[in-house]
């Protein structure tokens, strides 16, 4: 790259970096306004909202501009480090603090005299405040050899580090107000909710084996239903995910344009299906095949195809390519290479992921009951809806929750042992 092109690139990045700094100060200003407003409204002045008068907005804009100019002129701002820019003197050493102040002041001269400066300047690529203070802003990657290696400053001493703390702090504070986090209520109402804990922790197993006449089902039969639901969803999901995962692996498909298309489509579908909650799939399938366990299995299975497919594909991508090369060199067909070179390498992790998925599906199957699936979830939500009608409703819910915990725990233990054995 020629020198002038490099300089133009650096200049362009400087502009981007400056606007990024300005934007982050603007964000902080907006966050502070939100906080002020919120406390003004709730604690100080119970009616009306704080607002910025019309003449105030220029002040906010100019104020944030000044703040951005300060952090930019002093170097090490978020924008500068994000674009890999570094403030150095002409001899590529870091400028002194005095130089940095001078730069900040000279920046105003440069901005105010911008049209004039451009007109008279012979070095158009070098800005006025750089020239006045004998400093320059360079892309680190272009001047690797010239810039001396210095021990990095501690993160809290750089503008970048301090800005990050303020940005994160303001974001979390605003976030706490938006989500209405209220520790005071949580602590003050411990005593009023203690009965719930007492009843949940003293479960009534009256309908553990003998069916509840209202539900016509016992907890044990619900448990069996839930386990089967999860098992079928996992089996169906794995059966579809297995062939699809090879189509979604870059190292298997990335040899031809068509392969790339298939790879991209399969991975895209995995990501879309995976990002939609099984509960939502449940509502879709409840409409499609009717309210019930079949809809639950379909919902879980659908999500499982995508979730397992992605995990499987990543395993296929992570295999040792050596054996593939060796088997291809014997004159084998592509699918033979996959069968003899890829499959033996991925079987253990496929099995491990499948067992893990079964475990997840048992937990999800209980929630799926909200939109139709049966099993333990249905029993749990039934008793929960009878709170106030049945004297021991919470105790019954407690019994179901205990059962779920035991089932998940046992499955987790089994899948852990099996994984140990096969890897």
């Amino acid at each position: 790259m020629s020198k002038s092109v490099e300089e133009m690139q650096a200049l362009r990045f400087r502009v981007f970096a400056f606007f990024l700094d300005w934007a982050s100060w603007g964000y902080i200003a907006y966050g502070i306004m939100y906080l002020l407003n919120s406390y003004w409204y709730t604690n100080i002045h119970y009616y009306g909202r704080l607002s910025v008068p019309t003449w105030g907005w220029p002040i906010v804009i100019l104020g944030t501009l000044e703040l951005a100019a300060i952090s930019h002129a002093f170097g090490h701002s978020i924008g500068l480090s994000m674009f890999g820019l570094r403030l150095v003197t002409d001899s590529f050493t870091p400028p002194s603090l005095g130089k940095r102040w001078q730069r900040y002041l000279a920046w105003h001269v440069a901005v105010l005299s911008f049209p004039v400066a451009i007109w008279f300047s012979t070095q158009k690529s070098r800005l006025l405040h750089d020239r006045l203070t004998g400093t320059r802003m360079v892309l680190v990657k272009q001047y690797k050899d010239e810039i001396p290696i210095l021990p990095p400053r501690a993160w809290y001493k750089t503008n970048r580090g301090e800005m990050s703390v303020v940005l994160i702090g303001v974001t979390l504070w605003v976030g706490a107000l938006v989500t209405q986090i209220d520790l005071h209520t949580m602590i003050s109402r411990v005593s009023t909710s203690s009965y719930l804990w007492k009843e949940l922790l003293s479960p009534h197993f009256t309908h553990f084996i003998t069916p509840d006449p209202a539900l016509q089902q016992s907890i044990v039969s619900g448990m069996i239903e839930t386990i089967f639901m999860a098992l079928l969803a996992t089996a169906v999901g794995a059966a579809f995910a297995l062939p699809l995962s090879f189509l979604g692996a870059r190292n298997i498909m990335g040899f031809s344009p068509l392969g790339w298309v298939v790879f991209t489509v399969v991975r895209g579908v995995f990501n879309v299906v995976r990002s939609i909650q099984p509960l939502l799939w449940g509502t879709v399938f409840a409409v499609w095949v009717g309210f019930g366990m079949f809809a639950g299995v379909m919902a879980l299975g659908f999500h499982t195809v995508a979730a397992l497919g992605k995990l499987y594909s990543e395993q296929v991508e992570g295999i040792d390519p050596g054996p593939l090369e060796a088997i291809a060199a014997t004159g084998a067909r592509r699918w033979q290479v996959v069968l003899y070179g890829v499959v033996p390498q991925v079987i253990p992790s496929f099995l491990a992921f499948t067992l893990y998925r079964w475990d997840i599906n048992v937990r999800m199957a209980t929630v799926i009951a909200l939109v139709g699936g049966g099993g333990l979830g249905r029993i749990m939500f039934y008793y929960q809806s009878r709170v106030g009608l049945l004297p021991d409703a919470w105790n019954q819910v407690g019994a179901v929750i205990m059962t779920i915990i035991v089932v998940v725990w046992v499955l987790d233990y089994i899948s852990g042992r099996v994984r140990e054995k096969i890897i």
Binding site: P323, A329, T330
Partner: protein
């Protein structure tokens, strides 16, 4: 005698990084030769071998095997050509979780009925042939153990047995002994020599050590930065040539 393998103006440029790995390489190999390719790491030895059976696609140039243009072959024709070219590797390239016999039988994949191979069925003759080849490399007692339970030297012998299953006319070895100790190195090289002399298989192998190249090779090809810098008999490599191939600072290292 007619040339078995002819390489003409072979050039390989890796798109990523714009690296010129092979620069206009031309040579030919007569049937029954034991050709050793030497050179520093990164001189293009592995790329050269892989361009011959097109595990790596050459950018330019031609490769002829028994008069057939390998670089123009596609699909089934390329597979039939690859079948005749056995290959063994520095890192052995075995499927670690499969048994030794399964690894060896993979060498027959180019020959067997593809439908039967889909369900892991191999003809009885092939299984017998596999056991015989394992016996030949001295590890018939390990046929049913997992490949990763074997030592490095044993794994390389499985690699040789797999190549033997192809009933190859040409055997290519990509630094077959770099991952092995000196004693094991010689035992592996002896199997290559045996195949060369008893079965009449042409051998092309890349080697790090000049002493091994001198001991086993009938002809030597030296690469440097993707170019041929020497081609001739092992005895022709004197001190000056050695410096030219390996650089001024190189010292002799003997593998006995």
């Amino acid at each position: 005698m007619a040339d078995q393998l002819v390489v003409e103006h072979l050039t390989k440029i890796y798109e990523r990084g714009d690296i010129l790995a092979l620069d206009d390489i031309s040579f030919s190999v007569v049937k029954g030769e034991f050709l050793v390719v030497i050179g520093l790491s990164g001189s293009g030895k592995s790329t050269l071998l892989r361009c011959i059976n097109r595990l790596i696609e050459p950018t330019q140039g031609k490769v002829y095997f028994d008069g057939v243009d390998v670089t123009a072959a596609s699909g089934g024709e390329l597979r039939r050509l690859r079948r005749k070219m056995g290959m063994i590797y520095q890192q052995f390239n075995l499927v670690k979780r499969s048994s030794v016999l399964t690894n060896v039988l993979a060498g027959r994949l180019g020959y067997v009925n593809p439908w039967m191979s889909a369900v892991h069925r191999f003809p009885r003759e092939d299984i017998e042939m596999g056991l015989k080849n394992l016996e030949r490399v001295g590890i018939s007692d390990q046929a049913y153990t997992r490949a990763d339970n074997l030592s490095g030297g044993q794994q390389q012998r499985v690699g040789i047995a797999r190549a033997l299953m192809q009933e190859p006319e040409l055997l290519m070895a990509d630094e077959p002994v770099s991952a092995l100790d000196p004693a094991t190195s010689h035992s592996v090289m002896k199997y290559l020599e045996q195949m060369n002399q008893e079965d009449g298989v042409t051998v092309i192998t890349s080697l790090h050590f000049l002493s091994l190249a001198r001991r086993y090779g009938t002809r030597i090809l030296a690469l440097k930065d993707g170019k041929i810098v020497f081609e001739g008999l092992p005895s022709e490599i004197d001190e000056a040539r050695f410096k030219e191939i390996y650089g001024e600072e190189a010292e002799h290292v003997e593998v006995r």
